[in-house]
């Protein structure tokens, strides 16, 4: 439940930033990218759709992503996504708590987008 709320809160934050945060707006303005975040079990899950500056989101698991960040479980996802440590994602991948499906370069792009907000 906490992870599900976190994903929704992330969507809300990204939407607000897409209107108010200059650097973030600039960063996402040309991208057409679909990022899925989910657990290995498939739920909770949320698809984030970036379409040339506009952001929308759909709850649930979806197959038409460009990159999917798959967390071992909700606790691992919550813990890393709320961490402020620069190497949290790298360490999670090294531990086996995270795997990336699809085009990993889009996952790196998404991480860069999030970093714009930090």
């Amino acid at each position: 439940m906490r992870f599900s709320l976190l994903l929704y809160a992330l969507y809300a934050a990204l939407r607000v930033a897409s209107k108010t945060h200059k650097g973030f707006r600039h960063f996402i303005r040309k991208a057409r990218v679909k990022i899925l975040i989910k657990t290995a079990a498939g739920e909770p899950a949320r698809l984030f759709i970036f379409d040339q500056g506009r952001i929308s989101s759909l709850p649930g698991d979806h197959a038409d992503y460009d990159a999917a960040l798959v967390w071992k479980d909700a606790a691992a996802g919550f813990s890393v996504m709320t961490s402020r440590k620069k190497d949290a994602v790298f360490n999670a991948a090294a531990r086996g708590d995270l795997k990336v499906l699809g085009m990993s370069v889009y996952a790196m792009w998404f991480q860069e987008a999030i970093d714009q907000l930090m």
Binding site: K30, A31, R32, K86, D87, F90, N91, A93, A94, R95, G96, L98, K99, V100, L101, G102, M103, S104, V105, Y106, A107, M108, W109
Partner: protein, 555 residues
Amino acid sequence: MSQITGGHLVAKYLKEIEGVEAVFTLSGAHIENILDGLNEFGIRSVDVRHEQAASMMAHAWSLYTGKPGVCLVTAGPGFTNALTGIANAFLDNAPLVVLCGRHPLRDDLKGALQEMNQIDMVKSVVKWSATCHDIKRIPEYLSIAFRQAVEGRPGPVFLELPPDILSIAVDLKSVDIPKRRTLKTSVTPVKEDLKAAAKLIDQAKRPLLIGGSGVGFSECGKQVAAFAEKTGIPFALLNNGRGALPDSHPRSINDGGFTAVMAALPQVDLVIIVGLRLNWVMESGQTFPDAKVVRIDIDPTEIDRNRTSDVGLAGDAGQILDLLTPMVASKDRSQWEKDLRAAYGAFLVTEREQRETPSYPIHPNRLVAQIQKVVGEDAYYVVDGGDTSYYGSAGFSSIHKAGVTAPASSLLGCIGTGVPFALAAKIAHPNKPVILLNGDGSFGFNGMEFDTAVRLNIPIVCVVNNDCAWGMIKHAQEMSIGPERCTCSELGTRHYEKMVEALGGYGEFVEKDEDIVPALKRAIESGKPACVNVMTDCTAVSPATVVFYQTLSDF
């Protein structure tokens, strides 16, 4: 009294002083006497169908043999055709000696055939250029040309030889032929800088060594190995440094390719950059903003380019590693290396699945994996194209120096390099399989060189990764202006294998996954220059395209 013509004097010098084995050329009246001299002195002339291929093959020769490549082209269009290959060698820092015909000196400003100012045109893409005006000074000019090409940062040089000095004869005794001198740059950093570098290296918890073409040109694989084994520092070898140590070396992270480097760089606390320019491909060094940087480069002006180094060590890469390795502590960094491998492995799940899984339409990653399975690591792989360069570079591995080359991914981004590079690889290593993975778009530039392959019996095997498009451009257009507005980026289904067959080679057309391996085996067994034309998934987009698009759209 023994007389010798200017053209023969050129060949005599090339053979007897520089030990040149092969010259890449296309005939022309202005250079006829040199061509005759090549025959006279037993130098192999590899004659192509377009001078661009000659300059590219000579460039490739330098990578595959460690010796400067020699290209001989005629005046005017012969020269302008060769220019792209010369520019490519210049941006690649490859030692290339271009010998070029010229209109006669006596006809200057008279409107002679092919009269043009070649020197001014070529100046910006060579290290050195000159026109020889005196038959007796031909060896002296050639000597300067060769030294200029190989000393310090290597690069192409250009020497014009007019027919007025090539076709006349002179008494050989009256010619001074310089001895060959080989100097290796021996600039040595001050001890304080070496100590400072060693201190940073010893303190680092998450270091990474990235080697580039400077490692390849320095021939310093052994020194990199000694350094990596003592310090436990993982390394990636890129560009023409790749293969200085086999991809399978225990410290190498080349199995993760571009993804491994991009995943690692933001995490490292120290980057040791050896003989590699921090250009756009390396995002100008911006991907590791917090890391300390030690740079080793033969060109002191590179030390702080785009990213200030904490310690800069100017000089030959191998010589500096020889000095540095005894000064650093022996360390166990196996946990860092293990974490790094696991982390980039997590980003490669889909790519690795694509390699293992049969697919229809065939995914390019699968195609690469099947080729690698058949041919193995004891081979030379050349990849050419946009997306194709990514798939091939990431998927192929070889035990040889320059065993995997992707000339199109160099700074000039010069597609069309594949066939010339593969031909040069096969001439340099006739007993090893040479496999060229070519995009269908890039195949068109020098595909006609299959005539050269057939005529000269150079049995390379070209696999066309055929997505019926200028794939990288088409996919970038889909991202920028939208899929419905793609323009000038479709090519359609073309039977390149039939073109190769028509030229006297062997051809196969493949659409199904299960046909890749048998078709490839038949192509190799044919013993002929061969083309296996494989229809692949036209929707597959490589990460290189995403980076390419992002770089060009970030305004």
